[in-house]
Structure formats: structure tokens, C-alpha cells
């Protein structure tokens, strides 16, 4: 996770590559998921999320 993107940075990256309808959707169990990585305290900094987007039709 050390190389993970930030939510805002990733939205900007996707938009600049041409994606539309970009949504970052934090998972309900985000804290539990990240805590399960076994890196103490990581859940205070990292989240688990869905990244949703679409390639425009034209």
C-alpha cells in the first residue's frame, strides 16, 4: 500500500486519461479490511474502495 494513490489524485488521473463518471466508493468494511493486512495502524491512513468509471462512447 505504500505506493497507493490518493482518492483525489486518482480521480484526476482517470479524468485526464479520458474516463468519465469517475466515482470512488469507500467500502463499508474498509477499516477491517485494511487492519487485516497486519500492518499495525495502517487503517488510520489507508482505505479500501471501489473505483468506478466509464470510457465515453465518443
Amino acid at each position: 500500500m505504500s505506493g497507493a494513490a490518493t482518492p483525489g489524485g486518482l480521480v484526476g488521473l482517470l479524468q485526464s486519461e479520458g474516463f468519465v463518471d469517475v466515482v470512488i466508493e469507500r467500502k463499508e468494511q474498509s477499516r477491517e479490511i485494511v487492519a487485516g493486512f497486519g500492518l499495525p495502524g495502517a487503517e488510520e491512513y489507508a482505505i479500501s474502495a471501489y473505483i468506478l468509471a466509464r470510457k465515453p462512447i465518443r
Partner: protein, 197 residues
């Protein structure tokens, strides 16, 4: 950490997991893959529908369910590991659809192919690939999935540029991944394990 070092470390870590089992995470978390899978959002009936060896507890979400796949679609799974999401997606897209799993770890490809054979999934195949250079033609996929992998890629822009290229117009991504809301403290950021989890 230099980009090449990150890739090498990730490759070695996931090759070890493919050969020996275990999860992506440090020992001592007390987790079984089924527990990690449940936490990520997989229902028991989903995990029961694929070979046990397909679930190594490597995901941080359940992109197959969130993506709303429909029959006949062509789906890519980037960083397909032992094939869990690819096999679940193959069931959803049915015999008129197809799923292509891509992974940079030869041991994971071998494991995924064995799991697909055991599941008798005829509409799924696996390719060895660097996610920054997808070996697929442009506009060839309806949906691109990935599960807790792209955060490990040093050049994320290259990965998303390739995804955009291979998607058909109107195609979608549904990617489960780890994001950083705040910078990690230096002690955690430099922990070698944090570059692989």
C-alpha cells in the same frame, strides 16, 4: 523504493504465495483465506462455487458483484492471481461471454489455469502480462476488473492508460483497491511488507 525494486519484490512475494499458499499479508494476522475473503465481501456460497485453491485471501473487495456483469460480456481481470474473480466473472458472463485474467507471476498463472480446469470453466483463460503493457487489442473489453493490485504498480498512469485503450467505447471499470487518505508515517511507508500488501 525504485520502481524496478518494487516490481521485483511484488513478483517474488506473489510467486511465493502461489507456490506455498498464505496471504499477501504478514504472518501472525491469524487469518485464513476464507476469513479474509468474507471480510472483503465474498459470500460463502460464492467461495463454495470455486475450487478452494482459487481463494488465497488476496482481495480487498468483491468487484465481480459490484460490477453488475451481464451474460455475453468480455471481461478482463488485471492481476488475476489464482483466478477467484475470473472464475466468478466467468459464471456471470456465461458461455457467450469470456473472461481473460492477466498476471505478471508465472506461478499464479499456472495456479489459475489449474483452478479453471478443476472448475471446468471453458470461457476463461489466463495470460502472463505486465499490466502496464496489456497484450490485447484496443476496444476489446466491456468491463475491466481488478482486486487490490493496481496499488502495487509503480506506474499507475500507464496501467489506466492501457485499460482505457482496451476498453470498448462505453466500457466500464470496477476496481477494488487500496487508497491513501493520508500519507503513511515514514516507519510504515518504508516497511518492505507495506510495498506488497
Amino acid at each position: 523504493m525504485a520502481d524496478d525494486n518494487i516490481k521485483t519484490r511484488v513478483l517474488e512475494n506473489y510467486a511465493r504465495i502461489a507456490r506455498q499458499g498464505g496471504t499477501c499479508c504478514p504472518a501472525g494476522t491469524g487469518d485464513e483465506p476464507s476469513q479474509a475473503g468474507a471480510r472483503a465481501g465474498y459470500r460463502p456460497e460464492q467461495l463454495g462455487a470455486v475450487p478452494d485453491q482459487a481463494n488465497l485471501g488476496l482481495g480487498c473487495g468483491n468487484p465481480v458483484v459490484r460490477a453488475g456483469l451481464t451474460p455475453g460480456q468480455t471481461v478482463l481481470d488485471l492481476g488475476s492471481g489464482p483466478g477467484l474473480d475470473a472464475l466468478l466473472a466467468a459464471e456471470r458472463v456465461g458461455p457467450r461471454g469470456q473472461v481473460i485474467g492477466l498476471d505478471m507471476t508465472p506461478d499464479m498463472i499456472a495456479r489459475a489455469e489449474a483452478n479453471a480446469a478443476q472448475a471446468k470453466a471453458a470461457n476463461v483463460r489466463f495470460l502472463l502480462a505486465d499490466l502496464e503493457h496489456l497484450p490485447l487489442p484496443e476496444a476489446s473489453a466491456d468491463v475491466v476488473l481488478s482486486n487490490c493490485v493496481i496499488n502495487l504498480c509503480p506506474d499507475k498512469r500507464a496501467v489506466y492508460r492501457e485499460i482505457f485503450r482496451v476498453l470498448r467505447p462505453g466500457g466500464r471499470i470496477c476496481i477494488a483497491d487500496v487508497l491513501l487518505e493520508r500519507p503513511l508515517p515514514e516507519s510504515l511507508a518504508q516497511d518492505p511488507k507495506a510495498w506488497c500488501a
